[in-house]
């Protein structure tokens, strides 16, 4: 029993050596960021920053446990997938068509409470969106869609 435990501890310590590259962008807000493309209302900007940017931008606010393996591995994979799907820092480089698609998907995902992920809000309760915030986001998307059609 003692040996097994020791084995686990050893494995745990060993995997700490593997530390993936961090998703941190120390520079300024890039020129392709969504806030440079649209004039974002404050409430929308704060929702994006607080609830979306950890996985959908080039800059994640890492919690302390993110430095502990294997959690860090798990997180890094999540972030990579999230950025592939949608990266608010690269919004300006998306085609108009892609922007329109993403806006539509953002509204759907938020409205259906599929985003932010429950696994994320469980650890980041402050990122959870209130009914009011959900409504504000959906309304903002609709507004943008009307503007884009013009």
């Amino acid at each position: 029993m003692k040996n097994i435990l020791l084995g686990f501890v050893l494995i745990f310590l060993l995997i700490q050596i593997i530390q993936p590259a961090r998703n941190i962008d120390y520079g300024q807000v890039p020129s392709t960021d969504i806030s440079k493309v649209y004039k974002l209302p404050e409430n929308v900007q704060s929702v994006l920053t607080n609830s979306c940017y950890d996985c959908h931008s080039n800059s994640t606010h890492y919690p302390f446990y993110s430095y502990i393996q294997p959690l860090s591995y798990y997180l890094e994979k999540h972030i990579k997938k999230g950025k592939e799907e949608l990266n608010f820092n690269e919004w300006g480089s998306y085609s108009r068509r892609k922007q329109a698609n993403k806006l539509e998907s953002i509204a759907h995902q938020i409205q259906q409470k599929k985003m932010p992920l429950t696994s994320y809000t469980y650890l980041h309760p402050e990122a959870k969106l209130s009914e009011k915030q959900i409504e504000e986001m959906v309304r903002w998307v609709e507004q943008m869609q009307v503007e884009n059609e013009r």
Binding site: I11, I15, P70, L71, Y73, K77, R97, N101, E104, Q112
Partner: protein
């Protein structure tokens, strides 16, 4: 002590979970490369029907509206039958068709459409357990196909653009159909005939 043990156990569990999913992923990519190889006109062996189909529909690498529409229609038809599994399979085929299109002679608008269509097809392929999500992307994909037809014609196919005013919270949604009869892919069996012909190509 108990706490440390729990942390360790959770850690080991998570680690093994990750390992599993990552090996699954490599298996998937393996499959993808396999498909791609078989598509690239090196017909070594076709182990199953779906692989054969993919090959058949994507032998040439020129741009062909016909290929794309013929990839789209079975996907749309699967969703009229509420069959998310078949829809996922057909979407994967459509994805590889779209990726095989030769974009070198196309203008940027058409390229954007193809890219968007491929992304939509990819999502439908991935979400075989979420038909509502598949339908959201079918809506976007159908718009892509309609725009593609506007740019490039139908390649001789007789097609209809149908419209259902109820879908998407009353915002409505269109789809492309090969038949004059209305068979709605968005609302499922309960409203299968909802809609009207908006345009004939």
């Amino acid at each position: 002590m108990k706490n440390i043990l729990t942390v360790l156990l959770v850690g080991v569990l998570l680690y093994s979970c990750n390992k599993n999913s990552s090996s699954k992923k490599t298996a998937e990519t393996d499959l993808k490369t396999q498909e791609e190889q078989s598509v690239e006109a090196v017909p070594l062996k076709a182990e199953n029907d779906s692989e054969k189909d993919i090959k058949k529909s994507t032998v040439s690498s020129v741009f062909s509206i016909k290929q794309i529409v013929e990839g789209y229609l079975p996907l749309k038809n699967a969703l009229t039958k509420d069959d998310s599994k078949t829809a996922s399979l057909e979407a994967k085929k459509l994805y590889s068709i779209l990726k095989k299109q030769d974009g070198s002679k196309l203008n940027s608008e058409v390229k954007d459409i193809l890219e968007s269509a491929a992304e939509n097809a990819e999502h439908i392929g991935e979400k075989s357990d979420d038909i509502a999500h598949q339908r959201e992307h079918l809506l976007s994909l159908s718009n892509d196909i309609a725009d593609l037809i506007k740019e490039k014609g139908t390649d001789g196919l007789k097609l209809y653009q149908d419209f259902c005013p109820m879908y998407n919270n009353g915002k409505g949604g269109t789809w492309i159909s090969e038949s004059e009869e209305i068979i709605n892919p968005y609302e499922g069996q309960k409203m299968i005939n909802c809609g009207s012909i908006k345009k004939v190509f």
